[in-house]
């Protein structure tokens, strides 16, 4: 275990002992962004000032329909674009100012689809997550291989190590891609529509795993999605976006109000409170469709 990890563990144990909340990890403060075609052109899309805080072990869902600004917010958090105004900080450091490799050691980004041009073994792919830690030609060290294998094992997929990526099923591929993110040993994992190509069983499995990983490895997880039902079930915090504006931030029960969701998703919805205090969303049939 490395020095910082030990400190982090001690720190976490102290918080638990004192019964305090874990420290804030991600701080998004009045962050905004605007896309423009040219230097003097009017912006084609703007994301209005958005603020929220996320602690370690927390799952934050960025929720909204298409073109609501979810991906832009994800890029702001990832630090690949600097905010037009406001700040995005991870453990007190502005993400967009970090050196590319340092950033990759702290933030892992998982995209909905990872295309692989040439046939490659799953193990080689997971080892790519060790890139930010290497020098020059980055031949994998014994430690790298151990970390990569562990990452697969944590997702129950160690048996995929030798398999060619082209032969994997959708769910298996998803696990390999996630394992690469774990191999980066990040503090923050960002997922862009991770459930898009998965059937409902695999979606639930993935989110359960994420919750477990966030707990065990002390990650902060930010998921971009439009899956209302899954967010209600798994997120600790929801950031609701609509047409580039942040409408509400809070626990699912605080954000899931029928009128608000109907306005954002433009669909007739029913919201009820489940037994665990988590809201449940149903599609309400339109009167004309009722049989």
């Amino acid at each position: 275990m490395s020095g910082p990890e030990i400190f982090a563990r001690i720190e976490g144990a102290r918080h638990e002992r004192l019964g305090r909340e874990p420290a804030t990890r991600l701080r998004v403060e009045q962050a905004s962004y605007a896309y423009t075609a040219g230097a003097h052109a009017a912006p084609t899309f703007t994301l209005g000032a958005t603020s929220f805080l996320a602690r370690e072990r927390e799952i934050v869902a960025i929720l909204g329909p298409n073109a609501s600004g979810k991906s832009t917010l994800l890029r702001l958090i990832a630090g690949t674009i600097p905010p037009l105004s406001g700040r995005v900080e991870l453990d007190g450091e502005e993400t967009s100012r970090l050196y590319a490799k340092t950033r990759a050691q702290k933030i892992a980004v998982v995209h909905q689809e990872s295309s692989i041009l040439y046939p490659s073994r799953a193990g080689d792919f997971v080892l790519q997550g060790r890139y930010p830690y290497g020098r020059a030609l980055r031949f994998a060290t014994r430690e790298d291989i151990e970390i990569a294998r562990n990452a697969l094992a944590q997702l129950g997929a160690e048996h995929l190590w030798r398999r060619a990526i082209g032969e994997l099923s959708g769910g298996e591929k998803q696990r390999v891609i996630l394992a690469r993110a774990l191999a980066q040993q990040p503090r923050l994992i960002l997922l862009d529509e991770p459930t898009l190509h998965l059937d409902i069983g695999a979606q639930v499995e993935l989110l359960e795993r994420l919750r477990q990983l966030a707990k065990e490895n002390r990650y902060t997880v930010v998921v971009v999605t439009h899956e209302l039902g899954l967010v209600a079930e798994f997120a600790d915090q929801v950031v609701l976006l609509h047409l580039g504006r942040c409408l509400r931030v809070g626990a699912p029960a605080d954000v899931y109000h029928r009128e608000l969701l109907e306005q954002v998703f433009e669909a007739p919805l029913e919201v009820e409170l489940g037994p665990a205090g988590r809201p449940r969303v149903h599609l309400r049939a339109r009167r004309g469709d009722e049989m």
Partner: protein, 339 residues
Amino acid sequence: MRPLTARRVVWTCIGLGVLLLAAVLLALKLGAVPVSVSDLVLDLGRIVIGQADALPTDFRLIVVDLRLPRIVLGILVGAALSVAGASFQAMLRNPLADPYVLGISNGAAVGSILTLIVAPRFALVTPLGAFVGAGATILAVYFLGQREGQLDTATLLLAGIVSMSFFSGVIMFLMTTMTGRDLRGMAFWLMGDLSTPVSAAMQWIFIVGLLVGVGAIYSTSADLNLMLTGEREAIHLGVDVTRVKLVVYVSASLLTALAVSVSGAIGYVGLLVPHIVRLIFGSDYRLLIPASALCGAIAIVLADTLARTIVPPTELPVGAMTAMAGAPVFIFLLRRGLR
């Protein structure tokens, strides 16, 4: 699965080096005038121990003065084109990319010819003209090959083929307007040929340029592995994409320019060789780059030997051999990719 180690890269290169040596010996032996293996080994031994003066005259003329320089040129050109092809394939995320298919070789040829017209006495600056031609072409093809802001396989290939035929026209035009000059023929520029001797100075320029170009590309090979999975992902894994692109495009253009300025536009080597290497050794660029360089050298030496010996005493341009082998493979890969 054992991840790639430095040791495996070194041993693979040593193995391929031995194969290259065998190919060179074969190329020295075969030709319109056959030389026996025992004579060859004996006489080469004399050269090695510094008794070159004691060589029989005909051996010296045929093997040392005619065949050997051509083989050396083939090695340099094959290595340069193969590494350039492998690099373009990673940069453009297109397995069909090759300096010839993308029109970059013909662009470099136009640059070379223009330099020869403007400064006929300074043969050593032709690679510079070729470099400008290659660089301008790759820029043009890169932008023409985009659709809705994204590189598109089919559009990129069409852009390449269009620029190739455009530059072919320019080459023919330039060649017909310059009569009576001491210039290499049209077949040389359009097909590629190793029969034109190259000055010793030019050989040294090539060797230094090759080492610099391949070395620069090799230094980015870990980054290239990540760029294959997509630029966005490479950025998230900490790759300085802008720097890698600059280094690789400039170096690959340099390698293409060097090859074209001494041998014309030899096609399909940069396509064929990296693919064969990928099939045998896998797609890790840390092994793919040096293995492609060596296999490219072997491929050109063998192809040129075949070109020299297939219809003796006539010699075919080596580009004819590579095109006959490469075009069917290109079609095969294209169909497999589109399916």
